[in-house]
């Protein structure tokens, strides 16, 4: 499969945008910046729009998902939009019963814990992504030269939610299954990889100019566990995009031990969390890999001069990489003052 000729990457809209150039390793004149979870709870306009709308319903209502995706682009003048969605959306569209419990996160009515549970999971019908395609198309039509980044949760993180039945502290049940029944584990992660891959395809075909695979829980794994039980499945998720020439970003929280392994599955860009500085990430990757990150979200609440110095430090360290897209080391928290984000964008653009 290939991109349509009217795709933003091919019709001249986004191919030369700073974000896409940086993702391909071609350092633009001005360093681009966007924020993970920029669309969402930190914005008053988002909270207003969400009133009376359940989270996953909002994700699956094209007008809402598109508007929420656009809000931070208008407000902060960031260099990329990140598609507003949730990691569990493909699972829900594949027929798994799930709801987002406010203050807790996704909760599954029937956790997936046995070979029988996994056998009941059905492959996803690509037609189920119609609302996603519609939302992406609406968004891209408004974005002009700003690229939209598609999004999916990595198989391990998605599988952890499914096995645990919801968010958990250290993914212990998931990691136990990995050992107690490796066959079932592999089958489950293949399923997760395939629905994540189809989710990415839907977004890319509808106009996303890049994708990012999020592995939020990867920090609970040893390198050996990651390489053997997880990485091949993340690779499988990306491999669905074979033929679509879009840059692929791979991001994990607590990924210092597995940075190299996460890159080697076919990622073009590595997102780095706040735990290691970018020059160290570059060293661990052996150089040559465009980086994204890694402002410590904890500093968003610090006095401006502290945050400013930190942002400058992040940018300086990022200069060792072929190209750098400024981002946070994790998502924007709900308590974040949105004006701080706007100021960071101004600072980054002014620094060049």
């Amino acid at each position: 499969m290939t991109l349509n000729t009217d795709h933003p990457l091919l019709d001249g809209r986004t191919a030369n945008s700073p974000t896409i150039r940086a993702y391909w390793g071609d350092r633009p004149e001005t360093t681009p910046v966007w924020f993970m979870r920029q669309a969402g709870r930190s914005l008053p306009e988002y909270r207003k729009l969400r009133e009376g709308n359940e989270m996953l319903e909002a994700c699956l209502t094209p007008d809402l998902a598109s508007e929420i995706t656009m809000q931070p682009v208008r407000r902060h003048k960031v260099d990329a939009a990140i598609f507003f969605s949730d990691i569990v959306i493909p699972a829900k569209l594949a027929g798994v019963e799930v709801e987002i419990v406010p203050g807790r996160g996704p909760v599954f009515a029937n956790p997936i814990r046995t070979a029988e549970d996994v056998a009941k999971l059905r492959p996803i019908d690509p037609a189920a992504f119609a609302p996603i395609r519609e939302a992406v198309a609406q968004t891209v039509a408004q974005l002009g030269n700003t690229p939209l980044i598609g999004f999916a949760g990595a198989p391990f993180t998605l599988a952890s939610y499914l096995v645990e039945g919801g968010p958990s502290k250290d993914q212990q049940r998931a990691r136990t299954l990995m050992y107690s029944d490796p066959q079932t584990w592999a089958t489950l992660l293949n399923w997760c990889a395939d629905i994540a891959g189809e989710f990415l395809i839907a977004q890319v075909e509808a106009g996303a100019s890049a994708v990012q695979l999020f592995d939020s829980w990867v920090g609970s794994l040893s390198e050996q566990q990651y390489v053997r039980r997880v990485a091949p499945h993340s690779k499988r998720a990306f491999s669905h995009l074979r033929g679509y020439e879009v840059p692929k970003v791979h991001f994990g929280v607590g990924s210092g031990e597995v940075l190299q392994a996460m890159h080697s599955i076919g990622a073009d860009v590595m997102g780095v969390d706040w735990r290691i500085p970018l020059d160290e990430a570059d060293r661990r990757l052996g150089g040559g890999v465009p980086l994204q990150g890694n402002i410590d979200p904890a500093l968003l609440g610090a006095p401006w001069h502290v945050l400013e110095a930190h942002v400058r430090d992040v940018m300086n360290r990022g200069r060792v990489a072929p190209a750098h897209v400024v981002n946070l080391g994790h998502g924007v928290g709900p308590e974040t003052d949105p004006d701080v984000l706007t100021k960071i964008v101004e600072l980054v653009h002014q620094e060049g």
């Binding site: 490796p182 066959q183 584990w185 592999a186 992660l189 293949n190 053997r228 039980r229 091949p232 499945h233």
Partner: protein
């Protein structure tokens, strides 16, 4: 859906290793298995409520092949060595004796040591010592290990020491074991001039520790992990499909790898019957026969060929068994009433009384150990892996399969380069055509 590049026929250890390695190299692989499960002779069965190995229960440490695979499969921390109690020997007549601990495959390193004299008698030991005086002129014709040892050390060494050990390792009589199958023996013999010296140098070259190792929980864990990897790397596994003949291979997709006996030639081989007993026998706590007993051919007091005291050999199994004992006996010919014969044989071989009520559980397992494929039975162009070509034992089979896959991948990569070059040429030709149209 990508087309199948490789079809592996047979889901035993060789087929699994082959399919996994091809898939990990990014190739599309299908595996066809005649039964409804994977692993072949690396299997487990439940005896006394414990999952124990039903086939292979240890692997040769030679070359680190199996340990390397186990580590790759995440089982590195669970590799275990057997207890250091040696094995014993049941001679044709008389009581069991400790097996001389310095030899290899029963070939004594020092024929005149007390342990060897105890087995051979002084006359036999002196005859064995002649080995140091007989010159070695090199090997002129194919020769079996049995013939070699008989010539240099005498008949007693073959019958009393080598035959029981070789049978325990290869399920073969030494007269049927070509010396090439014993790694580096010929080379060392040429170098050192005598069999005992060759054996001593082989012992010195061996890594510290034991010649065999196992895996906590059983060798069968390799299969669980390999099978999971096949899923992880997208190998399609088709169960309960039997490929009957070489002709049927032509219908399969991609490059075919034969990893099962009975396809290129009818299965010829020996049948081995295993009897596993779970015993309540506190007398066995003292491990009276170390890790087990090898039976000299011709011994008529028992029908078993060997007995393994599994809970003495493997500490992990002892923990699992919670005070009970597990012994495994092997038979070339299955006796009628195997359970009773096995109990009786265990009693004699272990030298303790084992009344019927001490037997808590019993399991029977039968395997065919296929003989090597004759050169005439190899079909040109058909890649074969497994016991019929890789030798007996996991180390040999896995080493052989790994090498076969390396060759296949080299060929496949070369073919890819050619295809790409063709495609590039075609694309260029097309572009030229477009240019012409434009001008």
């Amino acid at each position: 859906m990508r087309t199948t590049e490789f079809t592996v026929v047979g889901g035993g250890i060789a087929g699994l290793v082959t399919a996994r390695k091809l898939a990990m190299a990014g190739r599309t692989v299908r595996l066809i298995e005649a039964s409804n499960h994977l692993g072949g002779t690396v299997a487990s069965h439940r005896v006394g409520g414990i999952n124990v190995d039903a086939g292979a229960e240890s692997f040769a440490t030679r070359g680190n092949t199996v340990a390397d695979l186990a580590r790759e499969l995440g089982l590195g921390d669970d590799i275990v060595s057997p207890g250091d109690e040696g094995a014993w020997l049941q001679p044709v007549a008389g009581a069991a004796l400790p097996l001389p601990s310095t030899g290899i495959l029963g070939i004594p390193a020092t024929p005149l040591d007390a342990q060897t004299i105890a087995v051979l008698g002084l006359g036999g030991a002196l005859r064995a010592q002649l080995d140091s005086l007989i010159p070695w002129f090199g090997k002129r014709t194919a020769i079996s290990l049995g013939a070699l040892v008989r010539r240099r050390m005498g008949k007693a060494v073959v019958e009393k020491l080598v035959a029981p050990v070789v049978h325990g390792v290869y399920s073969l009589h030494p007269d049927d074991l070509p010396i090439e199958r014993v790694a580096t023996l010929t080379e060392r013999l040429a170098l050192h001039g005598s069999l005992a010296a060759a054996v001593r140098s082989m012992r010195e070259a061996m890594p510290a520790g034991t010649a065999v190792q196992g895996i906590r929980g059983g060798i069968n864990r390799l299969v669980t992990e390999l099978a999971a990897d096949l899923t992880t790397y997208g190998v399609i596994v088709e169960f309960e499909r039997r490929i009957e003949s070489a002709e049927a291979l032509a219908e399969l997709d991609g490059t075919v790898i034969v990893a099962a006996p009975g396809i290129l030639a009818p299965v010829r081989g020996r049948t081995v019957t295993l009897a596993t007993l779970v015993l309540a026998a506190p007398e066995l706590d003292a491990e009276p026969r170390g890790s087990g007993v090898l039976v000299a051919p011709g011994c008529t007091t028992v029908s078993a060929r060997a007995l393994t005291h599994a809970t003495a050999k493997w500490q992990w199994l002892k923990e699992y068994a919670e005070g009970r004992h597990i012994v495994r006996l092997s038979y070339n010919e299955e006796p009628a009433n195997l359970a009773e014969v096995a109990r009786h044989d265990a009693e004699i071989l272990l030298g303790v009384s084992l009344p019927a009520e001490s037997v808590l559980d019993f399991a029977r397992q039968q395997w065919i150990r296929p003989a090597a494929l004759a050169p005439a039975e190899r079909t040109d162009g058909v890649v074969v892996v497994g016991e019929t070509v890789g030798g007996t034992g996991l180390a040999g089979i896995i080493t052989h399969a790994n090498a076969a896959v390396d060759r296949l991948l080299l060929l496949a990569d070369a073919a890819d380069v050619e295809t790409e070059a063709d495609e590039d040429a075609a694309a260029e030709a097309e572009e030229d055509e477009e240019d012409e149209q434009l001008s």
